[in-house]
Symmetry: C2
Subunit: 198 residues, 2 copies
C-alpha cells in the first residue's frame, strides 16, 4: 500500500530530508509542523536561515566562520597570537574553547586531506596557514585521531618544520572518566607509550 | 566557560531550534551543515520550504492539506462518499491510508477540543463537517484514545446523532503483535468488555 501524502507535505519533507541525520519520518514530522505554522512564521524561519548563511564570512586571519572580517578570537588582545592551533572545522574551535584550556589562536582548515574524495592541499586553507607562520612560535596539530586527520597533520608538519616553527600534536591517551575495560587496543598502546611520571 | 559560537551559526541554530524535537545540539549541527553548503543550496532549501507552505491549501470538502482545491481522496471515484472518517490531523489520514483498510472519505478537524488551551468548537473544522452530513450515512470517530480525543468524539457525536446519521467509534483493544504482559489496565479492561465470539 503506497503512502498517501499531499503534495505540499512531500515538498517540505524532501527539503528537510536533505539535512544530515534527518530521516524520512523526521522530515515528514517537521514538514507537518511547517504546514501547521502561519505563512509569516515559515517566512521568518526560511529567511532566518538564508540570512544566516548570507551573513557568513570567513575570518581573514584564522578562516573560522564569523559575521565580520575578523573573528572575536583573532581580534582579542588577551590571546597568544604566536600559538596557532590547527583544526578541521569551526565546530572544533567551539569544542576547544569550551574546554577553557587554550589561550592561543586557531586556524580552520575546512576539511582534511582525502585523496580518495579528491580533496588535496588546494581545497584546504593551507596557503592561508603558511602565510601566518612568520608571526608564529608553535603550531599545534589538533586534527582528529583518524587516518585522514593523522595524514593531514603529517603533511602540514612536513611543510611547517622547514620554516623553523615548532610543530606539536594533541596528546593521545585514555579519555577522562572512561574505563580501562572499554578502551580500544590502539588507545591503550598509545597511553602506555606516552605514560608520564607521577 | 561559555560556549564560543560565531554569530551566523547562532542565528541559524536559533531557527532550527524552533522546530519540534530539535534540541540545541542538533540545531547547532544542522546550522554547521547549512553554513557549509553553498549560498545557492541554502536558497533552494529555504525557498523549497517556503513555497511548500505557500502552495498549501485545504481541501474544500475534507479540509485535509493539499496542493489544489480538492484532495485526491475526495476527488477519487472509487471512494465511498457516504462514509466519513473524522480525524484530528493530516498525519492521521496518512496513517489510515497506509493501513489500506478504509475506502470512505475523511474529515480533518485540525485539532481537538481543549478548553484548557482555549480551543473550542469554533477553532476546529466542525462547521464544515456538519455541512457535509446531508450526503453521509455513517461518521466514524477516529480521534486518539486520549482525554481530549474522547471528549471531542463525544461532543461531535451529540451534535451529529440528531441529524439522523449513524455515529461509530474505532474499536478499543489490544494492539496487534503486542504482549498481554505489557498492556495497561485500561486497554485490558476495554479488550475484555469488547471481546468477540470466535
Amino acid at each position: 500500500m503506497p503512502e498517501y501524502h499531499s503534495q505540499p507535505l512531500i515538498m517540505a519533507a524532501q527539503e528537510f530530508a536533505k539535512l544530515p541525520g534527518i530521516g524520512l519520518k523526521t522530515a515528514q514530522r517537521l514538514a507537518y509542523h511547517i504546514l501547521n505554522c502561519s505563512e509569516q512564521e515559515v517566512e521568518q524561519f526560511a529567511m532566518g536561515i538564508l540570512s544566516a548563511r548570507r551573513s557568513m564570512k570567513l575570518c581573514k586571519c584564522c578562516q573560522n566562520i564569523c559575521g565580520s572580517d575578523e573573528c572575536e578570537i583573532c581580534g582579542a588582545d588577551n590571546r597568544n597570537k604566536a600559538l596557532i592551533c590547527v583544526v578541521e572545522s569551526p565546530g572544533d574551535v567551539s569544542a576547544i574553547e569550551r574546554s577553557g584550556g587554550f589561550d592561543g589562536v586557531y586556524h580552520v582548515l575546512h576539511g582534511l586531506l582525502s585523496p580518495m574524495n579528491g580533496i588535496g592541499p588546494e581545497q584546504l586553507k593551507i596557503k592561508e596557514l603558511m602565510a601566518r607562520l612568520t608571526s608564529a612560535d608553535e603550531v599545534i596539530m589538533a586534527t582528529s585521531p583518524t587516518v585522514e586527520g593523522e595524514a593531514t597533520a603529517a603533511y602540514l608538519s612536513r611543510m611547517i618544520k622547514p620554516v623553523g616553527v615548532k610543530v606539536t600534536r594533541l596528546a593521545y591517551g585514555l579519555p577522562a572518566g572512561s574505563s580501562l575495560v572499554y578502551a580500544d587496543d590502539v588507545t591503550l598502546q598509545r597511553a602506555l607509550e606516552n605514560r608520564s611520571e607521577l
